[in-house]
């Protein structure tokens, strides 16, 4: 559980090498000396580096294998994480942006996005939900995107998969309420990170550190949705309601 001042004792990162997940972990590590972090990711150099980085901050780090496209791998990872004790905060952070032109013309590319961005998180959410019900508490942070609210021509496959996951986690939050669970859906705009390397930043672009700050503030305030930057919320209210002929002409 988080204590009254917002300090968790344990953190479970799914997609533990993601820039946002690590930024969240660093911030919680600063709050809780000796924070236990279970870091689930594909084995390799990036995971080793992430383990080292959190270890240097005084965390007790356990690395666990996770393959985003495998449901069994999710089961193993959640079981392993729960084996270390209660999961106070879980962050579902992995994702794949993909190439939209390939994704909407190539079945394999399109369904890969669906598996990584929707099927995997759905499995994670179901398994984490089970753990929350058992524990009687637990916070699940799901990384969605503003693309889930109104996909554009240039990212609609990614947007479609994120929209599915966004709807699922929003509903999961309702389902887990009576079990002491809390789900936060995070909708960042363009985040300058590994995922977007080489792309031209969109307006209101942000960075992983800001997203992490917003996540911690939203968890503290027990909010269920947060946009990053905060101004993105207002922008999306407008964009969501624009007629399609207008939306399609926007230079975004």
């Amino acid at each position: 559980m988080l204590d009254a001042t917002g300090r968790p004792r344990s953190l479970f990162l799914l997609g533990g090498t993601s820039d946002i997940a690590l930024a969240v972990a660093e911030r919680y590590a600063a709050r809780t000396p000796g924070l236990r972090v279970v870091l689930a990711a594909r084995p390799g150099e990036r995971r080793d580096a992430a383990v080292g980085r959190l270890g240097d901050l005084g965390c007790e780090v356990h690395a666990v294998d996770l393959e985003a496209r495998s449901v069994e791998s999710h089961q193993d990872a959640v079981r392993a994480a729960a084996g270390h004790g209660d999961i106070d905060v879980a962050v579902v952070a992995y994702g794949l942006l993909g190439d939209n032109e390939r994704a909407w013309t190539d079945v394999a590319a399109g369904t890969e996005l669906a598996e990584v961005n929707f099927v995997g998180p759905l499995a994670a959410g179901i398994l984490l939900g089970e753990q929350v019900r058992r524990q009687g508490h637990g916070i699940v942070v799901a990384l969605s995107s503003v693309a889930a609210e109104r996909p554009r021509r240039s990212n609609f496959v990614y947007g479609a998969t994120k929209a599915g996951a966004d709807a699922f986690f929003t509903g999961l939050g309702e389902a887990l309420r009576e079990h002491g669970g809390h789900v936060l859906v995070v909708r960042p705009g363009f985040v300058r990170s590994k995922m977007t390397a080489g792309l031209e930043p969109a307006p209101l672009a942000t960075d992983p550190g800001r997203v992490a700050d917003a996540v911690l503030a939203a968890v503290d305030a027990r909010r269920e949705q947060v946009w990053v930057p905060g101004a993105m919320r207002g922008v999306m209210v407008v964009l969501r309601h624009l007629p399609r002929p207008v939306f399609r002409r926007l230079p975004i």
Partner: protein, 461 residues
């Protein structure tokens, strides 16, 4: 899950501070025997709840002491009968779920009063024992557990044991008094009472201009058994620690004006008064906090006065406002209460300065002198100075608490577990030197660790 026809309902629980919620299956056992049968059935059922069992009273612990995330919680307010009252000897036997409110309302017309009453009557006798609560007369009369003549405890094996403070079971008794509900479920208790001629107190009220003045006044030898000070937690510089000191005693018949003497034991002390509605935002911030502190100080007469007050108004002024904890808004609040030894006035001063300088606003600030410790292994009270502040949860509060922890630990003091919602295991280990004995006693009474709470998981009791 249905246990003996008691259907637990999943509910989200918090303490009085409304922080750190968790869900548990809550059952309301119909009486002490029901509790024993239920615990016994958990064993014979072969499948004890994976996340344990905990008794809960009226939920006035500020933190997570009466929560058990994912486990079973026994709501003891169904066990609320007063079993017998021996007026001549001043002894009352009750079920553990009876509230101090009900009990005092019943005892006063019979000319009896409890030797120790806490700052709210909305606690159960079981909760008062588990937290070994204290009152304004601690320096004279000790804590609640000092006046418990016997208690019935349902232990993890489903057995009902009668424990006394110095007879058989004394070890288990003093593990249970102050034991935060972790040794079993207290289902009945026998309490000693003191005589009371009236339902009033004679109260002397006096201002202290600063902390030195206040400590001086509190250290004086005082004929009155009850004393407590409210202090301004936001005043800095030369006015730091300015306070209003109230001292009193139970009123005798001849203290009462004729108007009150007609019905001397009529307990006027506030039924459920007006309530506070749920609030989307807290009302307390620096500005309102400062205004409140200023007002409260000025409300007290500039010169010492003596008057007659209803017992409820003197002992539990906040009981008149239902759900007053809602004024702190949805994020809730923490109470920080510590005690440091009598010689550590410098540490005390540093703590007051830290709070005043932090900018975190506190209005309900209580300071008093404490007397001897009780033999309770995890009991909070210890000789010295105790201070309590209520602070709304906000950014930076954890850092303030850390600094306060350092001051308290450095002075050999401790923080009250019934108020705490954020300490870590290392700090608690350092603050409670008898923790190892408590753990050993708990292993004997509950070898499999059936009784557990969120507090116990957090600080590893």
């Amino acid at each position: 899950m249905s246990v003996l026809g008691v259907d637990p309902q999943r509910r989200t629980l918090t303490g009085w501070g409304r922080t750190a919620p968790s869900a548990a299956d809550v059952a309301v056992p119909p009486g002490p025997d029901g509790v024993a049968a239920l615990i016994a059935s958990l064993r014979t059922g072969g499948d004890p709840p994976a996340r344990g069992v905990l008794a809960r009273g009226l939920g006035r612990s500020y933190g997570d002491a009466a929560q058990n995330a994912g486990g079973l919680v026994l709501d003891m307010t169904g066990c609320d009968r007063i079993l017998s009252i021996d007026v001549d000897r001043g002894v009352v036997r009750v079920e553990a779920g009876v509230s101090i409110d009900t009990l005092t309302r019943t005892l006063l017309p019979l000319g009896l009063w409890l030797p120790v009453v806490p700052g709210t009557r909305q606690v159960t006798v079981g909760g008062a024992i588990a937290a070994d609560v204290h009152g304004k007369n601690h320096h004279v009369s000790g804590s609640f557990g000092d006046h418990v003549l016997a208690l019935d405890l349902v232990t993890a094996d489903g057995a009902l044991r009668t424990l006394t403070p110095d007879g058989p079971g004394a070890e288990a008794f003093w593990a249970t008094v102050g034991g935060m509900g972790l040794t079993g479920v207290v289902v009945r208790a026998t309490l000693s009472c003191v005589p009371a001629q009236t339902a009033y107190a004679v109260v002397r009220t006096e201002r202290a201009r600063d902390l030195d003045h206040l400590l001086e006044l509190l250290a004086e030898d005082d004929p009155d058994p009850y004393s407590v000070a409210w202090f301004d937690a936001l005043a800095r510089g030369p006015r730091m620690g300015r306070a209003v000191l109230t001292r009193g005693r139970l009123a005798r018949l001849d203290d009462l004006p004729a108007r009150l003497a007609k019905r001397p034991t009529a307990f006027g002390g506030g039924g459920p008064g007006p309530g506070v509605p749920p609030m989307p935002y807290g009302l307390l911030n620096r500005a309102t906090g400062r205004a409140f502190n200023e007002l409260w100080f000025r409300k007290a007469p500039a010169r010492p006065t003596t008057d007659v007050q209803p017992l409820g108004a003197f002992f539990q002024p906040l009981d008149g406002v239902r759900d007053w904890n809602r004024v702190y808004g949805p994020r809730g609040f923490c109470q920080y209460q510590f005690v440091v030894p009598p010689s550590e006035t410098e540490a005390f001063r540093r703590a007051v300065a830290l709070i005043a300088d932090s900018g975190h606003p506190s209005c309900l600030n209580v300071l008093k002198r404490m007397g001897e410790s009780s033999p309770g292994l995890l009991s909070f009270p210890a000789p010295g100075w105790t201070l309590a502040v209520d602070l709304p949860v906000g950014p930076g509060l954890d850092r303030l608490f850390h600094r306060l922890d350092d001051v308290v630990l450095g002075a050999g003091g401790r923080v009250y577990l019934a108020k705490d919602a954020r300490l870590g295991p290392d700090a608690v280990e350092a603050m409670y030197p008898r923790l190892a004995e408590f753990r050993a006693a708990r292993r004997v009474l509950d070898p499999e660790g059936l009784f557990v709470s969120d507090l116990a998981r957090r600080v590893l009791l």
